[in-house]
Symmetry: C2
Subunit: 409 residues, 2 copies
């Protein structure tokens, strides 16, 4: 008899709790897994002995586990935490593995993105080196879709569905006035343009917008940008533009005005790319211009989650338990696309050392030659990931999500 521990880290997605729910559900299937602990606020919860009994917290109720599946953000809270290099200083590692021993933890699942996989890699290497019998597995999540080794990441599909839907709705909003206008929509994604590219999924039988898409993979030129808009304005009144928060000029400087502070991992904190360009276009073209920042809604709008995404996130959580139970460690779970024509995905795994600290950007051949749009190949890659709607329960007119007050007590 031994216990399982699960934690969440990094930025939220609409389906990270669907993976958590998958871990809990699969543990139910293994009677020799006695308890499922959750660590509050990622690694910090382990370091501070802030663990909760997840069965208890969910009242052992199937209904709650189901509701968890479609509750936004992180039921266990998050952290931004970079483990020291154990060869330099291993006191954090000792604390963590002491806690594992105290709580009789044999399986540890860390649901997170790039930075969290660095943690999984370091901990599993440490365990191996010191012959500690804890199976440590990374469960991928990020709206950014920038994780290496997996066809796509849980969380991307739901964010992409929100972005595509919102841009279609903005197109309807924009086309009502018969005057020249430019609408600039800023989308998350520091270095990888997957989410910005998802704007192209707003196109349908009648809607050709967004008319221009600018990705961080391509150096941004204000001069070319204005020329692109002028060219579009010859065809139509209302030009809609999707742009990544992370676009940089040829010298590598962010277009955004406020790239001052850095987070714990040294990433620049961005905002305001669309606002900067709104002012620029107003000056240059003099027409009506507005900027819209989709902001954290991209990662938290679970009410419009992708069914495909929720199901895959849940399955990958369940599979992680199976893999750990079968003796695997030091891996990240992955999704593979097994049928290119009619979409079907399978769960596999990859050594986490091959994933950690790498970033998957959009291949150049999936971006058009002019660098201001995506190709059909990229659209065909993304489309299946946003398919399907989830029946979110509502109460008093708002979604009926799971209580998160344990995070604030």
């Amino acid at each position: 008899m031994s216990n399982c521990l699960v934690a969440q880290s990094g930025g939220p997605t609409s389906v990270i709790n669907a993976s958590l729910s998958g871990v809990v559900e699969e543990c139910f299937n293994h009677p020799d897994i006695k308890k499922v602990y959750g660590s509050l606020n990622g690694i910090n919860g382990i370091l501070n002995h802030n663990l909760v009994d997840l069965y208890k917290l969910l009242d052992g109720s199937k209904e709650n586990v189901d509701q968890l599946k479609t509750t936004p953000a992180m039921f266990l809270g998050s952290c931004r935490f970079k483990l020291e290099d154990s060869s330099i200083d291993d006191h954090q590692y000792k604390k963590i593995f002491d806690a594992f021993q105290d709580y009789d933890i044999k399986y540890f699942f860390y649901i997170g993105g790039n930075d969290s996989m660095d943690t999984v890699d370091k901990l599993s290497q440490y365990a191996e080196k010191h012959a500690i019998d804890v199976h440590i597995i990374g469960i991928p999540k990020t709206i950014d879709n920038d994780l290496f080794g997996t066809d796509h990441t849980p969380g991307f599909g739901s964010a992409a569905k929100f972005i595509a839907t919102t841009i279609l709705e903005i197109a309807h909003d924009t086309y009502i006035y018969d005057i020249k206008s430019v609408t600039i929509i800023e989308i998350m994604g520091r270095n990888a343009g997957w989410l910005t590219a998802a704007a192209a999924l707003a196109r349908n039988d009648y809607n050709v917008s967004p008319d221009l898409i600018y990705l961080p993979e391509i150096p941004f030129s204000k001069h070319a940008f204005i020329n692109d808009i002028k060219k579009c304005q010859k065809q139509k009144n209302n030009v809609i533009i999707a742009i990544s928060e992370g676009v940089k000029d040829i010298e590598g400087n962010y277009i955004s005005a406020t790239s001052a502070s850095n987070d714990a991992f040294g990433h620049s904190q961005l905002s305001g790319t669309a606002k900067v360009l709104e002012c620029f276009v107003k000056e240059e073209l003099g027409c009506k211009v507005r900027s819209i920042e989709l902001n954290v809604l991209q990662r938290s709008a679970t009410h419009i989650a992708s069914k495909t995404d929720v199901e895959e996130a849940n399955l990958i959580g369940k599979s992680a338990v199976e893999y750990a139970y079968a003796g695997k460690t030091g891996i990240m779970m992955t999704l593979t696309r097994s049928d290119a024509f009619s979409y079907r995905s399978d769960v596999c795994s990859i050594p986490v050392c091959d994933v950690a600290n790498k970033e998957k950007v959009i291949p150049r051949e999936w971006i058009n030659i002019e660098g201001n749009d995506v190709t059909d190949e990229l659209i065909n890659y993304m489309r299946p990931l946003i398919i399907g709607e989830v029946a979110i329960p509502y109460k008093n007119g708002i979604p009926d999500y799971l209580d998160i007050t344990h995070l604030t007590e």
Copy 2:
């Protein structure tokens, strides 16, 4: 045999096309109404003889009329247009009534807000004065809920549902980090705080956010604002604030930095209130602060429309045709609340001259004494308006709305 004309004006809502659909549906029921014309881009379409045959445009298909009900923004396009005073210059009036005669229009329905009711008032007075047999009726719509003479306006409920849902989701997003943070959410509404007040509908069994609500009805003090936040921070880490784009200081100056340009009706164009306050709070308190502008999503997110709102908007459109057919003119359709305990609404009407150019703001007694929250009475007033979800059809992962390319051809 005579014809009907319908047009839309002002800013979009999620359900303005539900009213249009109601007009079309009810006209089907009156065989002596031969044709239903739509004027493209409001009054401009009449002045420029840019009318479309709505039966034809919808292929006379019930399916299309249904789909129209849940298509965002304005199927007929919009305008911002203020009619001249006919006693000074009546050439616009002559053009409009000439067009009515050319197209054999006996019923004219104008779906819009405050400014559009001014147009309905002027046209119906002109018709009466010159004994022209055209029945002119205003159909209210505005997300702002600031129309006089009606319990609430179609469009408000859906915007309120989007705002409440989004703020609940932002609360989940915010509570994941155990650090002090302030989140400032900017909500539409120039002078009336109804939409900002709707943020309170995000509160439920476990969520007390937003913690502070600032309405344009109450003069805003930056000093009191900082003190309010400090007080909240004694109770909890994550403070969530809903603030109207239109808050002004005691001297009547907008907090927003960019109140430069004016629209056709002389309204200041606002943006950036939350951004201005984000910088201010960062300076004063030094904690993590972020600002989120909900922007046009509030009025265009039909994918999360309120069922109550869609049904009322549709019914009010149908009733307008009945009233016009029964000989009424110079009125605006209204909604009355007939049962205070279990919500039930009825359609009535009011002389449009009693409505035009007036603005209904939140009564002082529905705002708390401190001026930083709303009362339970206001919450109870708003709650029924966001109840119910609409089954929006989806195609390829995005909502399947009605084609609007006739607006851009």
